[in-house]
Structures are given as C-alpha cells and as structure tokens.
Symmetry: C2
DNA sequence: CTTATCTGCGTAGACCATACGCAGAAGCTA
DNA sequence: TAGCTTCTGCGTATGGTCTACGCAGATAAG
C-alpha cells in the first residue's frame, strides 16, 4: 500500500494545487483562496509589494486580518501563490514542426512579458525549485522546446534555468531603472544619463580604463532596451546551439 | 565653473565612496560607518538577513538604535553598503597575455564564491545599476576581460550583466536548496529527491510528457552541482564566443 | 565667552505578522 | 429532533519593525 517512499506534500504545495478538500462540518467559508490571492495581487499591482500586508489584503475583501489565516498558512505562502497565479500560463508550446530555438525564444519572451506586466513579482524572493501549478506548466513547456535536441536531462533543466534566470535579471534591472525614474520625476533616459555621469565622476581619478573607454564610446541607440535584451538572449541561445550541434553531429 | 550638467551625488552613493568629510563643529563620533557596516554584516552572516534590524545591529555595537541613523540615512542604504563591502574586491583582472575566456570565467567564479561565502546577500534586492565602490571595481574587471574582443560598448555591458545574472541566479537556487535542507534536517540530496517525488506525483495525471521523460531519464551524478554550474557558464561563454568570432572574422 | 553645530539617544507613532481562544454556524449521528 | 463535533470569522494581545522628532550635552569657531 505505502512503499515507504511517500513523503506527504507540504501544506502550501497542496494548497496551490487545490488538493485540500473543504471539510463538510463547520459553517460555510465566506471567502475562497482564489479571492484572497486575487486581492493580494490587486494590492501589489496598484500599490506595490510593500503595500501587501495581511490587514491591507483583508481590508480589500471586507474581512478581518486574522480571517486570512483560515485560507493561507503564512504570508509568505500567500506571496508564492500570488506569483504563481500572476505569472499565468506559459505561451503556446513548441509546435510539431517548429525548431527548438523559436520555441525557446517565445518562452523567454513570455517570461519577460509576465514580469513586465506585474513588476512587483521581481521582489518576491524565489522560495525553491518550481513546484506550483503554473510554474510547473512553464517548466513543462520550456523542456518541450528542448525535446529531441540530444541534450541530457540535467542539461535541459540547466538551460531552462539559464534562460529564465536571464529573463528575470533583465526584467529586474530595467524595472528598477523605470521605478527610479518615476520616483524622481524624470524619464528613464535621464536616469540612465545621470548614472553614467555619476560613474564618470566617481571613477575619474582612479584606475578604471575599461569604464572610461566605455563612457567615451558613447551610447545613443533608439531601441536601446529591446536591443540589449535581444543581444543577451541571442548569446545564450547561441551557446545552447553550439552544444546541440556537437551532440547532433558527434553522436558518440 | 558649473556647466549645468552637474547633478549632485545621492547621499548614499557619496557615503559609500567616503565623500562625506566629518564636520569639525560638534563632539567626536563614537562610531564609524565602517564599524556599523561591519556589525551589520556580522549579524547577517551569523543569524541571517532576517536578524538584521537597526536595534540588533546597534546592540552589537553597544549603541542605541537611533544612533545608527547618524551614520546611515536608511536601513536600505545600510544593506546596500553591507553588500558592497561583503562582496569584496574582484579576483585578479585579465593578464596581458590572457584570453578573454579564462578571465571572464575567473570573474564569474569570483561572483559565485562571493555569493556562496555570504549567502544572505542574495536576499538583498538589487537597488540599481552598479555604483558603489566594489561594484564598480567588479564592473571594471569584467569589462577588462572583454577588451579588444571587438564587442561594442553596450554588448560588453550586456555580457557582463548576463554572466553576473547567471551567477546570482545559480547561487540563489543552490543556496535555497541548501537552506531548505538544513531547516528540515535532511541532506540536500534528500531534499532534491523529495522535490522530484512531489513533482512526479503532482504531474502524474496531467499533460506533462516532458517532465515525465525527464524524471524517467533519472539523474545520479556525483559532482552534480558543480557540473551544472559549469554547464550553464559554458553555454553562456560559447554564445559570447560565437559573437566575438563573427566580429573578428567578418570585419563589418 | 558666546554661539553654532553636531553628537548620542529616549520617546513615541505607526505599522507589521501571527498565536490564542472564543462565540456561533453547520452538518453528522443517534 | 438533540447533541456533539468540527469548522468559521475574528477580537485581542504579544513582540517585533522602522524612523521622525527633539533634547541635553559636547565640541570648536569667532
């Protein structure tokens, strides 16, 4: 019956997958987990993650603070749930006749889009490997993009982590810049300009030749941001391609 | 005298670069910024970032909570300063006769080592582009590794960001796993095993062929962690190499 | 010696997460 | 139908958090 390898699911995971059947004894619940999560997302979206407190979220629902703890074990679990549903489902998976590269590109851009639409998500620390429903769906589609490439299992996983890590860090940096701009009432361009000015001044008297060369070279692109994203992603995928080609060619 | 393009440095940056001369009027200071930062690091290192509160750090120094605000404008600025000094200086820069790839590899591994030595750093959210002294030094050496490769300025910056982002996200995931293990009194291997077991159970009845294939393939490496790190880094650098070679060969 | 300025720091305000326990609602069992 | 069990929302309380404000005393300039 039980083979001993069974370890019961952590509470938060069971919750995320909807595996907690409501008991039939007591009074009916006035709220639902989905409502609580949605209210949390709404607060985060409109006022930032910092505004997400148990009492603020409860207020949004017309409930008392402590009521939320009937739906969620801990605030951090609520945040995890919020991230999972705010991320939403992944973009369409690789089509039968599609190459791995366009599929993985779409997957990466989906990551970026999700993070851009809900920028507060970048401030929720990653609590572990992907285990919640949407996270798992994203993982599935990411792996699907790499099926049949000859990459080993761990390599496929590493590649997915590599790409999503890139999307996250890129989204983070640009969103930080954007928010700094809004805070100071400037355009992002101005903020970027000030950054380089400050950097130039601070490094002026020190041994920073590479930075000076960089500054001297100047930098006035139009579609700067998007080009930079594409560049990084292109490098990552080129690297993956190199490996795939050696696998496909060399056989072994 | 002033050409109008001058924008004064933000307070926290000036502080980080030691550009705030102490005024000569009042009584002598009982502490120094360095001491405050060091105390913060010590608390973070021994009890985790969560234990770093103004009162805890002040206690470490035998001072009152509010005294710290004579040295640091805000708690978040303290955290930024802590990260900058805990990161420490970068590893040796690219030697004259050294290729870009070993130099950048060393740089990436330096990132990883720093993050591993002080794992609490991963929980301090990145507050903007690198502007504090050690951050700038790391940037300098990273760019140095790419000097003379034919890469444009923005491309060099993107590459650096790509590599450091990879190091950060990889360090984060492994440290999370490690801490989860410690918390539950298991070995990291056991935690990893449980993860795959849970994932298998949760996806058992759903449309997750790629995940099932991954699980079926099994995964029992010895030096698993390190191999995975090297794989991702290798992919990134291969991608960079592709671009450098087209630049070097094709001219324009 | 006066005066300006800076120091450490006590107090207080406005939050926060969450442990505990209670009154009442809902269903199960007899 | 009665009683028991279990579950509900949520009030209260504990023990934190950051930091604004302002005061008493120290220091040095004029």
């Amino acid at each position: 019956m039980s083979d001993g390898s069974d370890v019961e699911l952590p509470e938060n995971v069971a919750l995320a997958w909807g595996l907690r059947e409501r008991p039939s004894r007591g009074p009916k619940r006035g709220l639902s987990l989905e409502q609580v999560v949605a209210a949390g997302i709404q607060v985060a979206q409109s006022e930032g993650l910092g505004a997400v407190s148990m009492s603020r979220v409860a207020g949004e629902l017309g409930a008392a603070t402590m009521s939320l703890y009937r739906y969620v074990p801990t605030k951090h679990d609520l945040l995890d749930l919020m991230v999972d549903t705010a991320y939403g489902p992944p973009p369409p998976p690789r089509a039968p006749d599609e190459g791995w590269r366009p599929a993985l590109t779409r997957w990466a851009e989906g990551n970026l889009t999700a993070l851009r639409r809900q920028p507060w998500m970048r401030h929720v620390p990653i609590s572990g490997p992907p285990i919640n429903p949407n996270q798992v769906r994203w993982l599935e589609y990411g792996l699907t993009a790499l099926a049949g490439t000859g990459l080993r299992g761990t390599e496929r996983v590493s590649t997915i982590m590599l790409v999503s890590g890139y999307a996250r860090s890129w989204a983070t940096t640009t969103a930080d810049l954007m928010e700094a701009a809004v805070r100071s009432g400037q355009t992002p361009d101005q903020v970027g300009l000030h950054y380089w000015q400050h950097l130039a001044r601070l490094t002026a008297d020190g041994p920073y030749p590479a930075i000076h060369e960089l500054i001297a070279e100047g930098d006035d692109e139009d579609d700067y941001a998007d080009a930079e994203w594409r560049f990084g992603l292109g490098r990552v995928l080129d690297g993956v391609e190199v490996m795939i080609q050696t696998r496909t060619a060399g056989g072994r």
